[in-house]
C-alpha cells in the first residue's frame, strides 16, 4: 500500500492547491453563462424533478409488495441521483489525466491532484443535492437517527469514486479505449443495480450479478436509510468495503508500475 499512501500524502500536502483547483473546476463548468453557478446544480435537479413529476404526480405509478416504498418516482430518485453523481465523478476522474496532459507536462504537479480535482468538484455539485434529497425525504424517514448513516454512505461513495476514477485514469492514459469501454459500462450499469427496480424484483438466481456493480451497495444503503429510516444491513458495508479494498489494491499496483512514465503517456 506504499504507493497509495504516497499519493494520499501528496494530495494532503497540496490541499490548499486542491481547494483552488476544485473551486476553479466548478467555475470553469459555467464560465461564460449568465446563470453562473446555478447551472451545474440545475441539470441533475431538473432530472430528478422530472422523475418525480412523471412517475408520482402524472402517472402515480406504484411498486408492488416487497419494495421499500410504493411510489415509483420517490424510489427512483433515491437511487438515480447517487448513480448520476457516481457516473459524473468516475467519468470526469477517468478523463482528468488526459485532459490535464499539457498542464502536467509543463508544471511540476503530482498527477493525482488532477483526479482529486475532478472527483471532488463533482462531489461539490452532487453532495449538496444528495443532502437536499435526504432532507426532502424527511417525512419518509422521520429523522430517525439511522439517517446519520447517510454520511458514511456518502463517504463510501466518494472514496469509491476517487479510487475507481484514478485507476481508470491511469488505464485510460495507457490505452485510450478504456474511456470508450467505461462510457458504455456506465450507461448500462444502471440496469445492473437496484436503482430502477427494487432488489426483490430481480430473479433470485441472477442477483449476484448486481454485486458486480460497485454502486449496488451504496444504493441499497441510501434506500434503506432514506426510504425506511433504518440502518443499512451489514452486507451493504461489507460489500462496500470489499470494493474499496479491491480497488485500493489494484490502484496500488498500477500506480507503482506507472509512476515514472505516467506523464509521458498523456
Amino acid at each position: 500500500m506504499q504507493a497509495i499512501v504516497a499519493e494520499l500524502r501528496a494530495v494532503w500536502q497540496a490541499r490548499a492547491l486542491v481547494r483552488v483547483l476544485v473551486r476553479r473546476e466548478v467555475a470553469a463548468r459555467h464560465a461564460g453563462t449568465a446563470a453562473g453557478v446555478v447551472w451545474p446544480y440545475l441539470q441533475p435537479l431538473l432530472t430528478v424533478a422530472a422523475y418525480y413529476l412523471v412517475f408520482d404526480v402524472v402517472f402515480a405509478m406504484r411498486l408492488g409488495a416487497g419494495a421499500p416504498t410504493h411510489a415509483v418516482g420517490t424510489f427512483l430518485v433515491v437511487g438515480a441521483l447517487p448513480w448520476m453523481a457516481f457516473c459524473d465523478a468516475v467519468s470526469r476522474g477517468m478523463n482528468s489525466l488526459i485532459e490535464a496532459g499539457s498542464l502536467l507536462q509543463k508544471n511540476a504537479l503530482p498527477p493525482v491532484l488532477m483526479v482529486a480535482r475532478a472527483v471532488l468538484a463533482s462531489m461539490v455539485i452532487y453532495g449538496p443535492l444528495l443532502l437536499l434529497v435526504a432532507l426532502a425525504y424527511a417525512p419518509l424517514h422521520r429523522f430517525n437517527l439511522a439517517v446519520l448513516a447517510f454520511v458514511p454512505l456518502l463517504m463510501l461513495q466518494l472514496l469509491l469514486c476517487l479510487l475507481l476514477g484514478y485507476l481508470l485514469a491511469i488505464l485510460a492514459a495507457a490505452l485510450r479505449d478504456t474511456a470508450q469501454l467505461v462510457g458504455f459500462l456506465l450507461s448500462v450499469g444502471i440496469y445492473l443495480s437496484p436503482i430502477l427496480f427494487p432488489l426483490s424484483l430481480f430473479p433470485e438466481a441472477w442477483r449476484w450479478v448486481l454485486w458486480l456493480n460497485p454502486m449496488t451497495a451504496p444504493v441499497l444503503g441510501y434506500q434503506q436509510v432514506l426510504l425506511q429510516g433504518v440502518l443499512p444491513p451489514a452486507s451493504v458495508w461489507l460489500v462496500g468495503l470489499l470494493w474499496l479494498g479491491g480497488l485500493a489494491l489494484a490502484l496500488n499496483v498500477v500506480v507503482a508500475r506507472s509512476r515514472d512514465q505516467l506523464v509521458d503517456w498523456l
Binding site: A16, L17, V20, L21, R24, A27, A28, A31, G32, S102, L103, L104, Q105, K106, N107, A108, L109, I170, L171, A174, L175, R176, D177, T178, V253, V254, R257, S258, R259, D260, Q261, L262, V263, D264, W265
Partner: protein, 422 residues
C-alpha cells in the same frame, strides 16, 4: 563569475546518477498489458543515463548538445515535470522553470483570474499574489486587458503575462529552455534584464541554448550532453571548444558519407518546409558557424557610462564570420537608436551582395555608410549570420555595441533623407 568572495559557496542543485528511461511499447495495448500483468515486451530508450553534476549558488550553466542528446529531458527532470527512472535530484529552495509559457491558462477567465490560478500552481498563495500583483501588472504592461478573458489576448500578451507571473518571485534556481523569444523586442529586453538581475542577486541559472554566443557570454560552466550522457562538464570555453570540434567532425563525417564534399546547403539545418522568408528561424543546430568579429572603424574609447564616439562621418563595419563547410553564408546588420526605434537592417542576401572568403576559410563583409546620414545621438548595432538561403540564423550578436554619433549641424531629427531643394 557572480558569487562574491566572502559569500559561502553552497550547493543549490545536486544531481546524482540521473537516468531517464522511456519504455517504448509496440502499441498502447502492450502498455496496458504491462500495467495489468507487470510484464510486457518493450524497448528501452535511455534519454539520459548516469548524469551527475553540482551547481553552486549564483552559477550559470549552459546545456549544449545535439538534438536528441537529452537536453529537454534533463531540463524537465530538473523542473520536476518528469520523474527520473534512476538517480536523485536534490534541490534547495525555489525552482522556477520557463519551459513553455502560458500552459494552464483558461481562455474563458480573465488575465487576473488566471494570474491567481497560475500562481497557485507554482506555489504562490492568494495572499502573496495580492502582494505581488501590482509588480506583475506593471511588468507585463497589459493594463486594462488584464480584466478581459485570456482568449481575447494575442499570443504575445499571454506570454508576457506568463513570464511576468513565473518570474514574479526570485527563484533559487531558474531553468530556461531555448532562446527567450518572448513578445516584441522591447519586452525581450525586459525579460533579459530581469534574468540578469536574478543572476546578479545570486540566482543559479541553468539554460539550454543553441547559441554559442549566448552561452559564452552568460555562463560560467557548460554541460555538454552526448547521447544522454555527460560528454564534458566544466568551464565554458573548453567545453564549447570541444563541442565545436565534435560538430565539425560530425559534419565532415556526414559529408564523407554523402560522398560529395561539395556545397552542404541542407546539412543539419533541418528546414523541411521553409517558413516565411521574412521570419528567419533559429538554426536547429548552430554547428560551428559563428560570427568571429565585428569591427567599427574610427571608433573612439568609451568614457565610463557613455558609449564610444564615432570619430568619422563614415560608418564602416567589418564583419567576419566562420561558415559551415563550403556553404557561403550571409551576413546581416542592424542599427537602432540606443533607446528608441530601429533605423535600418540590411543583409547580404537581400542586397545581392556576397561575403568574401578569406585565406583561412572565414568570410568577411565590409559594410560602409559614407557620410552616415544620421543626426546626433546614441545608436546600437547588431550583427547576424545567416545560412546561404537567409532562412536560418546561425549566430547573432544582438545589440552588442553602442556608439555615439555627432552630426555637426544643430538640427533636430533622426535620419537625413535623400532630398533636393529647388
Amino acid at each position: 563569475m557572480t558569487h562574491h568572495a566572502n559569500s559561502p559557496v553552497h550547493t543549490v542543485l545536486k544531481v546524482q546518477g540521473l537516468g531517464k528511461e522511456y519504455k517504448l511499447y509496440a502499441s498502447p495495448r502492450e502498455r496496458l498489458k504491462a500495467l495489468l500483468t507487470g510484464n510486457a515486451r518493450h524497448r528501452s530508450h535511455w534519454a539520459l543515463r548516469d548524469v551527475s553534476f553540482e551547481l553552486q549558488r549564483g552559477q550559470c550553466i549552459g546545456v549544449i548538445g545535439d538534438n536528441g542528446a537529452g537536453k529537454s529531458s534533463l531540463l524537465k527532470l530538473l523542473a520536476g515535470t518528469l520523474q527520473p527512472s534512476t538517480g536523485r535530484i536534490e534541490r534547495v529552495g525555489r525552482v522556477t522553470a520557463i519551459l513553455e509559457l502560458g500552459a494552464g491558462f483558461h481562455p474563458d477567465f480573465s488575465g487576473r483570474d488566471n494570474l491567481y490560478f497560475g500562481g497557485s500552481l507554482i506555489g504562490i498563495d492568494h495572499a502573496e499574489m495580492a502582494r505581488l500583483e501590482p509588480g506583475i501588472i506593471e511588468f507585463c504592461e497589459l493594463g486594462e486587458a488584464l480584466d478581459r478573458p485570456v482568449k481575447t489576448y494575442s499570443s504575445g500578451m499571454a506570454v508576457r503575462l506568463a513570464f511576468a507571473l513565473v518570474t514574479a518571485v526570485q527563484p533559487d534556481v531558474l531553468i530556461i529552455d531555448e532562446a527567450l523569444a518572448v513578445g516584441d523586442q522591447h519586452f525581450q529586453k525586459k525579460c533579459i534584464e530581469r534574468i540578469m538581475a536574478f543572476r546578479s542577486n545570486g540566482c543559479t541559472i541553468l539554460f539550454c541554448s543553441h547559441s554559442p554566443y549566448h552561452i559564452r557570454h552568460l555562463c560560467d560552466v557548460a554541460l555538454w550532453l552526448k547521447g544522454g550522457q555527460v560528454a564534458q562538464f566544466g568551464a565554458t570555453e573548453p567545453v564549447l571548444a570541444a563541442y565545436d570540434q565534435h560538430t565539425r567532425q560530425r559534419q565532415l563525417d556526414e559529408q564523407a558519407l554523402a560522398g560529395t564534399g561539395g556545397a552542404n546547403t541542407n546539412g543539419q539545418v533541418a528546414l523541411a518546409a521553409p517558413p516565411e522568408p521574412d521570419a528567419p528561424v533559429a538554426a536547429v543546430d548552430a554547428g560551428s558557424a559563428c560570427i568571429l568579429s565585428v569591427d567599427v572603424k574610427d571608433l573612439g574609447e568609451a568614457q565610463g557610462e557613455r558609449p564610444a564616439v564615432l570619430l568619422s562621418t563614415d560608418l564602416v563595419v567589418t564583419i567576419t564570420a566562420r561558415g559551415r563547410g563550403n556553404e557561403r553564408p550571409n551576413i546581416g546588420f542592424m542599427i537602432e537608436q540606443s533607446k528608441g526605434v530601429g533605423i535600418t537592417s540590411l543583409a547580404t542576401h537581400e542586397d545581392g551582395a556576397v561575403p568574401v572568403q578569406l585565406d583561412d576559410g572565414s568570410w568577411r563583409s565590409v559594410l560602409s555608410f559614407p557620410d552616415l546620414p544620421l543626426h546626433s545621438g546614441d545608436y546600437v548595432i547588431s550583427a547576424f549570420l545567416f545560412d546561404e538561403t537567409g532562412l536560418a540564423v546561425y549566430d547573432e550578436w544582438f545589440q552588442f555595441l553602442h556608439f555615439s554619433f555627432i552630426f555637426p549641424k544643430p538640427l533636430p531629427g533622426l535620419v537625413r533623407l535623400p532630398h533636393h531643394w529647388s
